[in-house]
Amino acid sequence: MIIAKKKPFAEILKALEGESKVFIVGCGECATQTQTGGEKEVAEMKALLEEAGKEVVGTMIPQATCHELDVKRLLREHKEAAAKAEAFLVLSCGAGTQAVRAATDKHVLPGTDPLFLGNIQRSMDFLEKCSLCGQCVLDEYGGICPVTRCAKGLLNGPCGGMAHGKCEVDPEMDCAWVLIHEQLKKEGREDKRKRIHPPKNWNVIRRPGKLAELKEKATAKAEG
């Protein structure tokens, strides 16, 4: 799940300066879960914009706004409204905002600040546990990711900033390395507690990430 938070409304208004006709795009997936771009938040944004003197010419909530084809298709269904719009305000993650970008040449702006790939621990309680590093090392660390959950991404043990089992950066956050050692101890994996791990290969995935293998397979299947 992509975790995001709402941008301050004043920031959005400033970005819309000189434009009065706005089309709002939400997202039926992550932004709905994080309550930043679901039906309720899109309606709230519409009311806020209208209160500020803007005209909301249309709204839509694709099932997943990062799906570029779906966004294009759905936008065609809102052709008239989209033609009137001067700006598209997107209440999803940056991937969704850029899917809208790919569907129109008009002003497209984000209404949220995307934060991280997060686990839903409880309703509205999210924690980042994976940073999509390109080469999963979880098995070496008892299923607890030091790349993500250590503030410095340290691969061979805690830093000197750990205090009472908590992180130097956030005293409320458990030190990932204390968790890793506790877990490996439970599993009796002394070998994993002792092993020296090499640094990450940061170029396993060249940024920007790109994966077309699946497309090739799909094409092959269709042709075959």
Binding site: K152, N156, G157, G160, M162, V169, V178, K194, P198, P199
Partner: protein, 302 residues
């Protein structure tokens, strides 16, 4: 080659001090401290943007210490540089005649004065130790042959008061395995705790020639002692020392702190608890010679 390395290998009780580069171009005070200490200690650490606060670089200040006839211990953190920059600086250090490197993770930018900076941490301290070792063997991290190897005496740190301590010991063992030559500890105040720590540490270094220096930060006031206890991770000042600091009027607190440090140096040396001490006076380096006199020790002698 290298006074600090020679002192470590000689079996004498090793003394090192610390220089904090200035925030700005005014080097007068720092040069005064270097000249005051360079012949009184075996080596002088130079901190690397300590506490993630931007300052003059440790590389060039370490070079200046060497140029003035002292021996520098070049502190290098993984916070500000990726593996290319770290190795490049290590080659530069060798060119400047620097032979001692202290490999550190580095504090997170968020605790410093450029809170919006990106922390690098491409390497961790264990990788940096391995990398120095490789460069000593004539290769860079990627395995390319160097046109002339380095000859570093490689150091790292450990935090004896880390809570919990066990993960810290595992990391310490990794550092020893990675090929460290010497260890400096985070500041220690409780000598009983430290003795117990050293017993375990010696088990880990058994069969190696790794030297361990106790880190001693001079207490300058009761407030500072309380602050360290409360706010600095991995530092524990026992009640007995807090009481001792509280027992004197404010204007005598620094002298009391110096007495405590001198007493600890004597204790550690006389009982052979560790192989030396690293004295940190954090900006008050002019008091270090007197502390050494009070303790009856001095660097660069047997």
């Amino acid at each position: 080659m290298g006074k600090y390395r020679d002192a470590c290998n000689s079996g004498k009780f090793v003394i090192s001090g610390e220089i904090g580069p200035p925030k700005g171009t005014n080097v007068e005070r720092m040069l005064h401290h270097i000249d005051l200490l360079k012949d009184r200690v075996d080596g002088l650490n130079v901190t690397d943007n300590q506490s993630a606060v931007m300052r003059m670089g440790s590389l060039v200040v370490s070079g200046e210490i060497v140029r003035r006839g002292g021996d520098a211990i070049f502190q290098t953190t993984c916070r500000d540089r990726n593996r290319l920059a770290l190795q490049s600086d290590l080659l530069s250090a060798a060119f400047l005649g620097i032979t001692n490197v202290l490999c550190l993770t580095g504090d997170h930018p968020i605790v410093g004065d450029h809170k919006e900076a990106k922390g690098v941490f491409d390497f961790d301290s264990v990788h940096l130790i391995q990398c120095c070792r490789k460069m000593n063997e004539g290769y860079d991290w990627a395995g390319n042959q160097l046109d002339g190897p380095t000859d570093f005496f490689i150091g790292a740190v450990v935090t004896p008061e880390s809570d919990p301590l066990e993960p810290q010991f595992y990391k310490f063992a990794r550092k020893v395995e990675a090929g460290v030559d010497f260890i400096q500890t985070q500041a220690v105040y409780d000598m009983d705790h430290f003795q117990r720590f050293m017993e375990k540490a010696r088990e880990i270094t058994a069969g190696t020639n790794v030297k361990i220096m106790a880190g001693l930060v001079v207490l300058t006031s009761l407030g500072m002692a309380k602050y360290m206890n409360r706010s600095v991770p991995g530092i524990f000042v026992p009640d007995s020392l807090l009481e001792e600091m509280a027992s004197v009027p404010k204007e005598e607190a620094l002298r009391k702190g110096m007495e405590i440090t001198a007493r600890q140096i004597r204790f550690l040396r006389d009982n052979r608890v560790c192989d030396g001490v690293h004295i940190m006076a954090i900006g008050k380096e002019e008091i270090v010679p007197e502390i050494l006199e009070m303790a009856g020790v001095s660097g660069q002698e047997t």
